[in-house]
């Protein structure tokens, strides 16, 4: 088994050397939205041809790679600093997980091959009034004829400007308790009544959009799972984000991310002194490497336990919290070491991970991890209640 894995690792290494575009970071710095999207789609097809785009999908849909090999694949892509799949992320993870868990055969046949051909998805979950308390969402889907009419506003939909389809949560049971009146829909973004507006975020970029829905008609065939079962469907979808994708991010942070941090610390500053020669700096670097080692082990464990069906109820929250806060401390440290020079990097390369070596922007961007997908505070509550069995706050409505 280990021999086979070594062979596979060599194969992936060879592929990385032959296919990862040279200097893609420089080429992807300051590019337009259209150029970014084009680069992402080309890279996705490169990965697809090698069988590396959706290794986590079932074999019949073009995946079926054993978990041990997926781990190796992500380790090697990270070690070779491959571009990340940013644009296809929601499609290959959230949308695919929803279709596989709750979709009809027809929905799967319609969308899974299309995703492989480049169909882009966005996620329409959060609303201005439903962030951490996602179940409080108020967009409505009213039955009409053979379908639904949707009204409301979604926010923080990543990549929605490029999206062909949207995974949408809307309320179908206004009288039911809040988690039991939500349904999950597959929304064609070309449907009349949809208005997508980009949100400019703290880094100056616009990864996210608001989506305004004004009498948008979704046919009956656009319902994913049963009516009013959308909360459960969404939970499964969100869980899909936390396994292999976290492992990929941990490997990136532990490989290229830490390598750049060491490089930043070994480069002489304006005074000719190398930061790493300061014992306090060396100490922090060693502490970061230690935590990164723990993070990578945590992620491997999460993936393996998920595969074996032995995951604990708070495992994913532990990993998300640990990663987010480590990313924030590490990029913040990098920004401090790099000094004023870090502030001259006004843009970071697109298609990169959360650490790009542009430390000041990376640090600001790290809040994109501690806030979305359940804030660090929510994760701690989940760990306390589901992981440790501590009593719930009687004041928090469910």
């Amino acid at each position: 088994m280990t021999g086979d894995l070594d062979e596979f690792r060599a194969e992936v290494r060879g592929w990385c050397r032959a296919h990862i575009p040279a200097n893609w970071r420089r080429a992807q710095t300051g590019v337009s939205d259209a150029e970014f999207a084009g680069f992402q789609k080309t890279w996705f097809q490169e990965l697809r041809r090698a069988g590396f785009a959706v290794p986590h999908w079932p074999r019949e849909w073009g995946g079926g790679m054993p978990v041990a090999e997926q781990i190796v694949l992500h380790q090697e892509l990270a070690a070779h600093d491959a571009p990340r799949l940013v644009l296809a992320f929601v499609a290959i993870h959230h949308a695919a997980a929803t279709l596989l868990a709750a979709g009809t055969d027809e929905q799967r046949r319609r969308h899974l091959p299309a995703i492989l051909d480049g169909e882009i998805w966005a996620q329409g979950f959060s609303e201005p009034g439903a962030g951490s308390d996602l179940a409080a969402l108020s967009a409505t889907a009213r039955r009409q004829g053979d379908g639904y009419v949707v009204n409301g506003q979604k926010v923080w939909a990543s990549g929605a400007a490029h999206a062909d389809w949207c995974l949408l949560l809307a309320r179908t049971g206004p009288e039911a308790p809040k988690r039991r009146g939500i349904s999950c829909f597959l929304l064609d973004m070309t449907t009349p009544g949809i208005d997508v507006r980009p949100i400019r975020q703290a880094t100056g970029e616009s990864h996210f959009c608001e989506i305004f829905l004004d009498d948008v008609v979704i046919p009956r065939t656009g319902l994913a799972g049963r009516e009013n079962d959308g909360w459960r469907v969404a939970q499964a979808t969100l869980a899909a984000e936390r396994g292999m994708t976290m492992l990929e991010l941990a490997e990136r942070l532990g490989n290229a991310g830490f390598r750049w941090l060491v490089e930043t610390c070994t480069r002489p500053g304006p005074d000719g002194v190398r930061p790493v020669d300061d014992s306090l700096v060396a100490d922090r670097l060693a502490a970061f490497e230690t935590e990164l080692t723990a993070l990578r082990a945590l992620c491997r464990d999460l993936v393996e336990r998920h595969d074996a069906g032995t995951s604990g109820p708070a495992d994913a929250s532990v990993v998300k919290l640990f990663y987010s806060e480590l990313l924030q401390r590490l990029t913040g440290f990098g920004a401090g070491i790099a000094g004023p020079a870090a502030h001259t990097e006004l843009r970071k390369p697109r298609s990169s991970g959360w650490e790009s070596g542009a430390w000041a922007l990376d640090f600001i961007g790290s809040w994109e991890w501690t806030i979305p997908g359940g804030t660090s505070e929510i994760q701690r509550t989940v760990i306390g209640e589901r992981g440790l069995g501590l009593p719930r706050d009687p004041g928090a409505g469910r």
Binding site: A286, D301, G384, L388, G389, L390, P391
Partner: protein, 356 residues
């Protein structure tokens, strides 16, 4: 890790937890421990041991930390068997391994707990009277009331060796060191020109310097295992207490401030576990990267244990600060462990040498 392997560990863990929970302290506990065969876990089967690895010893150590146990296991089995197994085989070495496995011998290794840099604390000098042993080591685990002393020393040619001596030999003195951590026992071992017979000087197999460093790493990882178990015990106790202690008409664990502190403890314990398991695996597999893994486990798990025990005291409130609650005993054990066999800063310095 195969499931068969981890099942065996789970079983060992359960047995250890029961035994350490019931056996109490002192001689009775040690009798129960030797009856269970733990001192001989790493002793080869032909010498009546279990032929197991450090990975199994790590499980026992973790449970000892959990129970804040007071036994000579660390000195006799972890360091004693560990040191003997690094030696070239011979009748003297094999007989002692057999005796440790059966419980007939309880040795200690005079490894100084306060040194982060691994260098023997003793040296052998040639003299007209024969070989003389000089030096001293403080914070030697389980040094008191043992029947054999194994003293790491630099031979006159500069090579690390192990000197096998009786604790009452002329020129050797062992004195107990009373410490704040009353759950374990440490001693000061001094040698002031003790005459050493040539056949009681034992050579390390292979590369002697490397062997001595391995012994030091073993001590560091073993302490990290203890700290991991200790952290788990403190987390469990705190979660249990926060679930039943009521203030303002509700369990304190329902307050977010308390809940989130427990969540942070859990995250630290989980990260510690992964680092300690990796270090134990590397150590039992003789992995060349085991030095780095050992330093990571020692620095992280032992620092985390002080944090976790400190939070346990805080979240137990006034009760936690009493002598009676016993939280202080765990906090002191965690604090001492953090300082033993290389401080976190010393271990991180070792890790950081690779960046230059």
């Amino acid at each position: 890790m195969t499931s068969e392997f981890s099942d065996a560990h789970d079983e060992l863990r359960a047995v250890a937890r029961d035994l350490l929970g019931e056996a109490g302290r002192g001689r009775a506990a040690w009798k129960a421990i030797t009856d269970s065969g733990w001192p001989g876990l790493e002793v080869p089967e032909p010498l009546d041991g279990a032929g197991a690895t450090f990975a199994e010893v790590a499980v026992v150590l973790e449970e000892m930390g959990r129970a804040a146990a007071c036994t000579p296991y660390f000195g006799a089995a972890v360091l004693g068997v560990g040191a003997l197994r690094l030696l070239e085989p011979g009748p003297g070495r094999d007989a002692l391994l057999r005796d440790i496995a059966s419980g007939a011998a309880v040795p200690a290794v005079a490894l100084a707990g306060d040194t982060g840099t691994a260098e023997p604390s003793f040296r052998l000098e040639r003299s007209p009277r024969g070989l003389l042993l000089h030096g001293g080591a403080e914070f030697v685990p389980d040094a008191v009331e043992v029947d054999r002393l194994l003293l790491p020393a630099l031979a006159s040619d500069g090579e690390p060796v192990l000197v096998d001596a009786g604790p009452d030999a002329a020129g050797i003195r062992v004195t107990a060191q009373p410490l704040l951590d009353a759950t374990r026992r440490f001693g000061r071992v001094t040698a002031d020109g003790a005459v050493v017979e040539g056949d009681s000087v034992r050579r390390f197999a292979g590369h002697p310097e490397a062997a001595f460093l391995r012994l030091h790493d073993r001590a560091a990882v073993a302490v990290a295992c203890d700290s991991l178990g200790l952290s788990e015990a403190m987390l469990d106790a705190t979660v249990a207490y926060a679930g039943v202690r009521e203030q303002f008409g509700r369990p304190i664990g329902s307050f977010q401030a308390v809940k989130h502190a427990c969540a942070d403890m859990f995250v630290q314990v989980t990260a510690s576990r992964h680092l300690v398991e990796a270090a134990a695996r590397a150590l039992s597999a003789d992995d060349p990267e085991s030095r780095v893994a050992a330093s990571m486990a020692k620095s992280y798990a032992c620092e985390a244990a002080v944090d976790v025990a400190g939070k346990a005291m805080q979240l137990h409130g006034g009760m936690g600060y009493t002598w009676e609650s016993g939280v202080h005993a765990y906090l002191k054990r965690a604090m001492l462990s953090r300082s033993l066999f290389g401080s976190p800063a010393a271990h991180r310095r070792r890790i950081a040498r690779r960046y230059r």
